[in-house]
Chain length 521, copies 2
């Protein structure tokens, strides 16, 4: 694997939350997973009703893993308390609307100033259709969903400013790339380069296939394609269209472009993707409605101590400052690791080391309110423009089409790039984002209004975005997926679907099932 | 061009309404089109307000072309009457809901029996994002839009029953095809087959590109990809996923499959696609609200006669049977040609010949109400399964996700296939559709309920779907795009965007502009 390819894959992995460790994970021999569905989905968790009677569980943290844990345990009759430090549930599932305060731990405070109805999903913003656990909760709770438009062929790739290139519409990049690839392969086949691999019949079929696949001429040449769009669109009567010239092959061999060409074929980004109507936090709110009587907000966890047959948790009421020790038979800790690292515990050294030793990644997003010029002037309805710039993308809203204004995401960078970017004052970050959008949509930067930024490593009680597991981190992953005394850990970072709500929900199921087995034993 | 390729393209053309004649059209020298937008869109029609004062125009037919004509002419001060034979506006833009009667001219009557809120767009069902004329009217009228999910990677390709194959999930077909193509090309490059085409540097970059593009191994081999999905999805903790095996190259060289691999890259099917919330007929209804006082429904046109300085139109009230002659300065005729062919006219022989000589295509659709098993069991949220069977596709609803039931389209065939299919009794058509759906979704055919079928050549006042222009038909296209006396023709079939509402709207603009020029002269 060359550096280019590795760098590329890491970039993808970070963006997609793809857990690189997955393929190398050792199984723990806890029994083969049961597969219910023909499509390979994990079956819904089934705890016997009443099976938790008389057992007390403290669930620490009301993000998705905590909400799922508390909800499922209660259904099975457990006595549950759900502890959350913030004044809201959801954790990283955070939807920002008019009036939302964003207090970062660098001392900055922002208050969102959006028109009513607008929102910005600062954390997760899409639900892949194969994430059936979290989607199953949406179904169960009646959380209304709509399509999240992750791909628009009218969106752009913006080359690096240093290379001086103009934005390239994705329909051109995607279809011209396929055209060139098809032409080259057809030519190679005709030269005998595939005579060992394919029979004469198959070679002939391959060439016919490539003509269709790449929209080649009868002579198997790529001369451009309607698929790549028009300079002048066709109209009525005699108004024929004027097609875009094909991009030269050389332009497509720029590695900067490659993410834009394939991101929507990554499993995690393939259509159909979904979103709750009105904001991603409709999901945590739906859980919260069902957990109102057991959820304690504004309550920090200061210490977690395993006892012989139970666990003590010291909590502090943020309003009064009063501390209190809660006792339970088990606890499920769903904090991000940098938050858990600040909690006093009597965990074994290897566990403490795992908690403090894993590097937590970050991500930052910027959102703007604006006239929807991307629709009226560029025919972009949702989807993503990929930009070779510090801000990484422009992400257009998937709903509210044709309304006067909308909220557009003008930055979603990750890892070190996000740390470097968010060292700057907010005003400087906003200036960069505005400038990049102005390069893709000339003259429109000036229309962007009321930006807000969320840098996840600066968000109290989050302090990061996800774990970017790499092979050496496996032992921490494995260790934290086992309980420490009466304390079980859960969170997206302990699943093979890191950084996604699906992973958080499945990890919660895993922790619950482990507790249920102990209770039953 | 081999027969295979031509057949394939005709199939595509028919499905997409792509006007094959476009490239060969001769321009008429009426002046270069003005292009307003950087994205090559036709600018909105601009008639001077009051410019039509004192001029009477009869608009015949209240489909999209007629509605657009009447609406724009009125805005410019013309005295307009809009004549429509049906009891509704919209023409082929027809949304079927509970209680809708479908009376076909083969003597059958169906009454849709759907749950409230469900609908079936029997005609157009999607709006490409580059169709800015019809989308512009949606914006102007506040017709609420949502994403139409035209592609789901969880949907299937169903091979021909005679070949005995199982359904293939599209994420596998699409990504394994790309993997194999990438591997073959990388191999050819390494064998020197591209030494003449590319420099050594570019060959090396090409191979790096192909590794990303096709998800190849470090050795540039295709060993399957996560993009093609999992047999067993990954989960929490130790539960790694088990990927699907790659499909063999041979499976992908079956021409039956190729439409499924590329249809969503056809310009007309690329994301983002849109639909009005609640049904496509929200568009004609929005026009109708603004035209109530000039629209006469239930009024058939029996004769059109050019006079020296005007036009007489004989109409018949369908309720009373009473005939009446209307006079105007101009008429715009928007009927489908098979309908116009039945109207008595004094048009010149070449015009009459054009009207009666053009072959009108057809299309048929079947819709079922059902439990949404495609979501709960197959993770399909919208999109299309392509089936190598008489019914051509299964089209899943793009809205109402997670509701208990939905309406799924179980047939959308065209041309001779549709004619042959709809010769059968409805019960036989429904049995075929049910059987095909049952092959893609085993055991679920039995859950399909309350089917309705619309075969467009059997729909009174439509008598077909669109014109499938081929080169020899050019002269009729050109002739009908010119007025005959005081009569102008308009309709999607007179545009380069045949079969689409955009073409109807632009054709209406073309006819209006021609009248405006005559009035101004």
């Amino acid at each position: 694997m060359t550096v280019t390819r590795r760098t590329f894959l890491m970039q993808l992995a970070a963006t997609s939350g793809y857990t690189a460790a997955a393929a190398a994970m050792t199984t723990l021999g806890l029994g083969a997973p049961t597969i219910a569905s023909a499509t390979g989905q994990t079956p819904p968790l089934q705890l016997a009703p009443g099976s938790g009677k008389g057992v007390k569980v403290l669930v620490l943290g009301a993000g998705i893993a905590g909400l799922v844990s508390a909800y499922e345990l209660r259904k099975a009759g457990y006595q549950v308390q759900l502890i959350e430090a913030r004044d809201r549930v959801g954790g990283r599932n955070w939807t920002i609307r008019n009036g939302t305060r964003i207090e970062l731990n660098d001392g900055t405070t922002q208050v969102a100033d959006f028109e009513p109805g607008h929102y910005f999903n600062a954390g997760p913003a899409r639900l892949p259709s194969h994430h059936q656990t979290i989607l199953g909760y949406c179904r169960e709770f009646g959380v209304e969903l709509e399509a999240e438009v992750n791909t628009s062929r009218s969106a752009y790739f913006l080359p690096d400013a240093a290379k001086g290139g103009q934005p390239i519409q994705l329909r051109r990049a995607v279809n011209d790339a396929r055209g060139h690839v098809s032409e080259l392969l057809a030519r190679a086949a005709s030269k005998g380069a595939l005579d060992q691999e394919l029979s004469a019949d198959d070679r002939a079929r391959l060439v016919e296939f490539l003509k269709v696949y790449g929209d080649l001429t009868a002579n198997a040449e790529y001369k451009g394609s309607e698929r790549s769009g028009y300079k002048v669109y066709p109209g009525a009567a005699e108004k024929v269209g004027e097609r875009n010239e094909p991009l030269p092959l050389e332009a497509l061999l720029d590695p900067d472009l490659w993410t834009a060409l394939i991101f929507d074929e990554l499993l995690i980004f393939q259509p159909t993707m979904l979103q709750p109507v009105g904001g991603m936090d409709r999901i945590p709110h739906a859980f919260h409605e069902r957990l109102k009587d057991v959820a304690r907000l504004n309550t920090e966890v200061k210490a977690i101590r395993n006892k012989d047959k139970g666990v003590d948790v010291v909590v502090r009421d943020r309003a009064s400052g009063k501390q209190q020790t809660l006792s339970a038979d088990y606890a499920i800790v769903t904090f991000p690791l940098p938050v858990l690292a600040q909690v006093e515990t009597n965990f074994a050294p290897d566990v403490q080391q795992a908690i403090s030793g894993v590097h937590y990644d970050t991500a930052s997003k910027i959102a703007w309110q604006s006239r929807r010029f991307w629709e009226t002037e560029a025919q972009i309805y949702g989807g993503i423009s990929v930009v070779k710039a510090e801000t990484a993308l422009i992400w257009y809203p998937s709903g509210g089409f044709h309304k006067k204004t909308g909220v557009v995401v003008g930055c979603y960078n990750i890892g070190q790039a996000a740390r470097d970017f968010t060292v700057q004052p907010l005003s400087a970050q906003f200036a960069v984002s505005r400038g990049v959008i102005d390069r893709v949509h000339p003259g429109r930067g000036a229309e962007l209004k009321n930006p807000v930024s969320v840098a996840w490593h600066k968000v109290p009680y989050s302090l990061g975005s996800w774990v970017h597991w790499v092979t050496p981190a496996e032992k921490e992953y494995t260790r934290l997926n086992q309980p420490e005394g009466r304390v079980h850990f859960a969170g997206e970072y302990l699943s093979q679907i890191g950084a996604w709500q699906e992973g958080a929900a499945l990890s919660a199921h895993h922790a619950i099932a482990a507790i249920a087995r102990r209770v039953a034993a």
